[in-house]
Amino acid sequence: MTDPLFVPPTRRQLLTMIGKAGGAAALYQAMTVFGHAAESQFTGPPKLSGARPGSTVLVLGAGVAGMLAAYELTKAGYNVQVLEFQDRTGGRNYTVRGGDTITELGSPTQTVQFAPGNYLNPGPWRIPYHHRTVLHYCKELGVELEHFAQYNFNTFAHNKAAYGGKPQRFRDLYVDYKGHVAELLAKSLNAGALDTAVTTEDKARLLEAMKEWGVLDKNMAYTKGIKVGEQRGWDRPPGGGVNGAPIPNDVGSLSDTLSTKVWQEIGFYAEHVMQETMFQPKGGMDHIGKAFTAKVGNMIRLGTRVSKIAQDAKGVTVDWTDAKTGAAGQSHAEWLVCTIPATVLGQLDIQVSDAKKAAIRALPYGNSVKIGLEMKRRFWETDYAIYGGHSFTDQDISLISYPSSNFFGDGPAVLLGAYPFGIGAYRLAGLTPEKRIAAALDQGSVFHPAEYKAEFLSGASVAWSRMPWILGCCATWTEESRAAHYQDLVSMDGRIVLAGEHCSYYGCWQEGALLSSLDAITRLHQRALAA
């Protein structure tokens, strides 16, 4: 006999109970245990509803965090207004095309010369398969995604101190690296050096593994041969007829292999956020911002420069200046979502706790530069068989990245000619746009010496430290600053809550901006209903 009170709950009922009792975090933990969600804290769009009639929210910043807040809060029944510093929406969700101008502090204005259809994403440019919030809203808002080619064995790696500065195919370095490591481990095992660390059974398995993984020969050595050729490629590839037999190429030495530091690239592609499958919006990242703008654009006041944010028991008051007319204005609402980057917010008069002010002012922003180079033709495809992916270098440009769209297309195409953080980014940012292009062409020529300058048409660059509305690329946290300030930054302070990538553990990613926004508006809604 079954007592209905003691029927075990279904998994769905259990998750609902956990969600009610412990909130979204507990729900996420439980779902992870049940194997539902393992990769993002996103558990679906917030189902906010029942805002008090006439309730108002002011959102500062029309980047993706601000526009998502406006979109979901409007659905929940709030009256929302958004103030935006720039004369465009999207924030760092940004794409430049032919005819667009780029205006930095202290640099001559650039007018982008790219052919129709070509573009540069100066900000975010790729979306990992597990960034479920971004992917969800792309689907919901009808943003068409295509594959972003991330992992490409046929790209190059260049290190000034390796191979005499001659770029090597990543494939060759990868195969050489595991071959040499496998050979050395096999030698150690066979010499008995690891007998105290591994069982006899595991030793046998490891030797088998090293032979197969490293493609070792019968003497357990990594040497030139047909088997290695099947991974590494050929001096003469397999063909038909009388000369069909392939000829393997020489393998690299251990010292040469180590001098390339290829383990860094191998490790890079193994990072969760860098793994395939990767996506991009077709035609430019700003299609996400445009899709949000289509929903909330009528709530956004552009060219509106906030100077002061105050609050009292009844609501918030924001002072601003119209960028075009210079006229002063004021906006009021009951609640405020502020997505202004910390670099700028730290300079504004904002009425929040000292702890939150300290958190805002303890958050430095990394610098980055992106340079787009339009080439007359896709020589990397036709002449090098490179279809998307990245060639890395230890020069300032850090990498060049090949376009993932319109493979085999005719006519001009844009490749990413530089994407450094740190020293390389500072150094390129300090150059005039014209000199940045010259530097990018000089450095990128190491990969494609015959074509790079000959096929060049025009270039465009964005130095994030000089973008007047953010003065940096994205927030840089450390373990220490997280411990000291993170909770103070994200806490709701009276009627004010902050959102954006800087208020997340997914810094520099749109996923972080969106997750932060959803968390902020969920807490705001709870506070508003309880008020």
């Binding site: 990072e271 969760h272 956020v273 990394g366 430290s465 509305w469 003065l471 373990e479 810094g507 520099c508």
Partner: protein, 148 residues
């Protein structure tokens, strides 16, 4: 002589955070394995031109407008006290990061000496001993309405 990076050893003074800005931290989008070994020249002028000018501009007059400003270093009275720029280069302030992970102590001393002497009229040099003194004392970052 050229240095690569990460050479300001502060082990004794748990002062500086571990993350580097070339490798901006947990899970961030970043270029990948390239670029990190690029070298910064040693003279104060060169460090200024290669690093500082990215934000403070070639003329050290900064940029932007009230509320969204990169401060000018030229004619900056805060620099009269040489400890002030040392603290900021070691610890960062506002949107500006610390520079201990990409500049050496001699480079930090040289660039502060250059900025104080060339763009201002403070001629007393900053030395590595000054950097060590501040590192050991570990003073708080001066409060600011950052950008002014």
């Amino acid at each position: 002589m050229k240095h690569t990076r990460g050479l300001v050893a502060m082990a004794a003074v748990t002062l500086v955070a571990a993350a580097t800005l070339a490798d901006p931290g947990f899970a961030q989008d970043r270029p990948g394995p390239g670029g990190g070994d690029t070298a910064v020249a040693d003279s104060g002028k060169e460090v200024y031109e290669q690093i500082c000018a990215a934000c403070h501009m070639a003329d050290a007059k900064g940029g932007g407008q009230t509320g969204a400003r990169v401060p000018a270093l030229a004619g900056n009275k805060n620099l009269a006290n040489k400890d002030y720029p040392i603290i900021i280069l070691l610890k960062g302030r506002g949107g500006m990061p610390w520079f201990t992970d990409i500049l050496t102590k001699p480079q930090i001393a040289a660039v502060i000496t250059y900025v104080r002497g060339h763009f201002n009229d403070y001629k007393d040099p900053v030395t590595v001993a000054d950097i060590d003194r501040i590192g050991a004392a570990n003073p708080p970052v001066p409060d600011c309405n950052c950008g002014h």
